[in-house]
Each structure stands twice: as C-alpha cells, then as structure tokens.
Symmetry: C4
Subunit: 125 residues, 4 copies
C-alpha cells in the first residue's frame, strides 16, 4: 500500500445555490456550500474554480492552493476575487487542478436546532 | 488548465418521487426534485429527458436546452409537455444530450422550519 | 439520441442499517432504506440481491424482476425470502442483474414532522 | 451471476469533520461520521486509513481488517491508534486495501428528535 497521489485534475459540481446574504449569526457560520478538496500528493495543487450561472457569463477563475498532503474546505460564499458570487441564484462549478485532487460537494443548512445535510463526490474526468 | 467541455452525453437517475400536488405555498416553492444540468462547453446542449415508472410505459422525451457556458436546474414538477408527470408515484429518469453535460440530482423537502436535503451525481455512461 | 439500455450488471452499496422493527404507523410507511432500480432496456432484468453483515455469513440471493422500461424501488425491510433481514444491525448489499440496470441507494427517516434524507448512486463495476 | 469480489483497492473521502468531544449521551451514540466498508470477496481485507488535515501533517495509517464476506462500519471518532483524531477540525481520508472493497461515507447528526443525514460513495481509483 502506497501513500500518495489520488484523484483527477478536472471536476464538476452541477448543483449550487447561495442564499440571500444573511446577517451575521452562528447559523451563518454553520450553513453554506463547500467544495472539499484533498491533495494527497507530494506537491502543492494550484486550483482554478470557474462558476457558471443560468443567465449570465461564467466568472472566475477563483484560485486556491491546496498544499501537499493537505485538505482544504472551500466555502463558496468566501470566494471574493475576482468578484463575490451573486446571491440568491443557482450556479454550478468546474474545478481544475494542475495535479490530481479529490473533490466532494457538501451543503449544510442550519436554522436554530434544525439542520439538513447533503453531500456527493463531484464528477471527475 | 482549459476552460471548456466536461461531462458525458447519457445520464440516469434511478430515484424519483413526486408528492401529491400541493396547494400553492412557500413550502411548495422550496420543495421538490431537481436535475441540475451544467453545460460548460461552447455550444448549446439539446437535452431529452425520458421518465420511467413502475407500472406504466415511459413518457417523454421532455426537451430542454442548456445554453453554452450555462447551468439549468430542471424541476421535475415543471415538466409539462408532452404531459405533466403523474403525482404520488415513483419514477426514474434518463437524460440524454447532444453534447457533454454534467447532471446532479437533488431533492429538497421543506415543511415549516424543517428541511431535509439529499443529492448525488447522476450515473454517467 | 437513443432511448434504451443504460447501466451496469454489478452494483454495491456499503451502507445499510435496519432499525428495530416499528409498530405500524405512518412513520413506518415513510421511513426506510431503498434500492432504486432502473431498467431502461427492452428486456426484463432478473436481479439478485446478496446482503452482507458484520458478524455473520451473507444471506440471499433475494430475487426481484424489473420489467423492461420500468423502475422498481426495493425496500430492504420488505425482503422476506429466503429470510427476513435481521433488525438493528449494519449491512451492505451486492446487486447483480442479467442485463444492465442503474442502482441508487436512498434512506428516508421520518419522525413526526421531522425528516432526514440521504442518497447516492451505488458503486458500479 | 457470480457472488464474489467487487470494488477497488484505493478510495478517498474529501469531506470530514469531527465535532467537539461530547459528553456521553444517546446523541453521541447516534451521531458521527462513518466509512462503511464492504468486502464481498473470499479473503480478508487489510485496510489502512490515512487522515489528512488543513494545517498539519497526515496521521496514520489506522489499520482495520474486514473479514471475507463481511461489512465493517468504521466510526472516525473511534480511530485511536496511532493517535486519536483531533477534534473540531476538518479532515479527509485515503483508504487503501490489499484486496478490492467498496467504501461509502455517511454522516449522521442527531440532536434530540432532529436528525440530518448525508451519504456518498467514496472516490475510487
């Protein structure tokens, strides 16, 4: 058994929805959509995220680096440059890396004591 | 890293359930099953959705177009032509496109302050 | 675009849990684990389900038929022959078909007004 | 139809989160993240789990054995040797086996009468 690189360089997530901007609260801290990235390899992964919409041109790439042997959980509402994502609309994402990574999509909704969860491995190519 | 086409041309979702038709309400607006389609390529995707049932012949194709570089979130309860989907029964879907797309299946159930979520990438071939 | 067969002949679901047997109630009717099977092809699918446990030999096969161009949602708590599944234990399943099908695993938990959902495409080979 | 081996030898789960350690309670018994492993083959599977973090070196391997024709549901909060997993941080996992297995990732959150569920097949290579 070998510890090391696993994954692919191009991934897609077809579901995405950012709610209206919320006032600061613990719920806001907990809720949201996340792309969980795993780079199990020995070199840093330079990742470009492009975001697609229903009625406008895509934006991006948003750039993040996942260090060698590290995981990074990217919250979509924290993608700020080149521009903050618009709110209250559907979106989808393509995630491209210069080395193999693994991508999983998770949404957590929390309201008071309630919570709802969903997750799926992204589509890899 | 190249921005462009990703995905496959044939997808399937084996789970599906449309509840009884609901009276108009905010819950109705929020709840439902969705096929999220991403067309990251440079030409429009012409998509045909065929719906299968337990005890009757399949219906369709329902036709939708996903523009180049666009995402489309298709609600199954809004598929009207050639016929509205029957209610309160299980179904499954095959989604075929003339160019590669990515398909993700999501169900949201909302009742009052409660919500439940599930999602999965569809099966691609 | 061709309507017809999609899928694989061997699938696996690694997660499974049957709760203690419940008294008859609407909750019971709603809750449960399901394997959703889609046979989009033109001949019937003869399906064999084998169930694996943590501490005992596997049981099965449980046999179901999914008609041509039909979907079947199999509830695990309704698998009776060759023997009812034991309760309150973890299990996993291998689902084999003589023609290609698509398999999706879904769990619904309902208690009063609460519900929780999860789903994933099964592993295909 | 042949009963026997199904799966792959290398799997990854990119999402993971262990909450703060909880006081003993029924909620604690129910909640948690699980890797469900299925070994449908005829020889035992020797499995090594490596856990990756955002800001520190990976730990492991944690070693478990899944008997021939058995399933094992591994709770991440029960991985103790070589060291207990740190709490309240994000993680990801690579799961390697000397024979093919199937891996599914599930998280259950329970608080009082509320529950939230999510699941996905892991990424296989």
């Amino acid at each position: 058994m070998v510890r090391g690189t696993i994954g692919r360089c191009r991934w897609a997530i077809a579901e995405g929805h950012l709610p209206e901007a919320l006032s600061p609260s613990s719920a806001r801290l907990e809720s949201g959509e996340t792309a969980c990235l795993l780079n199990a390899g020995e070199v840093d992964a330079h990742v470009a995220i492009t975001v697609y919409f229903a009625n406008r041109e895509p934006v991006g790439p948003y750039r993040v680096t996942v260090g060698a042997r590290r995981t990074l959980h990217v919250r979509f509402d924290e993608l700020i440059r080149p521009q903050p994502l618009p709110r209250a609309i559907d979106y989808a994402t393509v995630i491209e890396s210069d080395v193999p990574i693994v991508v999983q999509h998770t949404r957590l909704e929390t309201e008071g004591a309630q919570s709802a969860l969903m997750t799926t491995m992204a589509y890899a190519e």
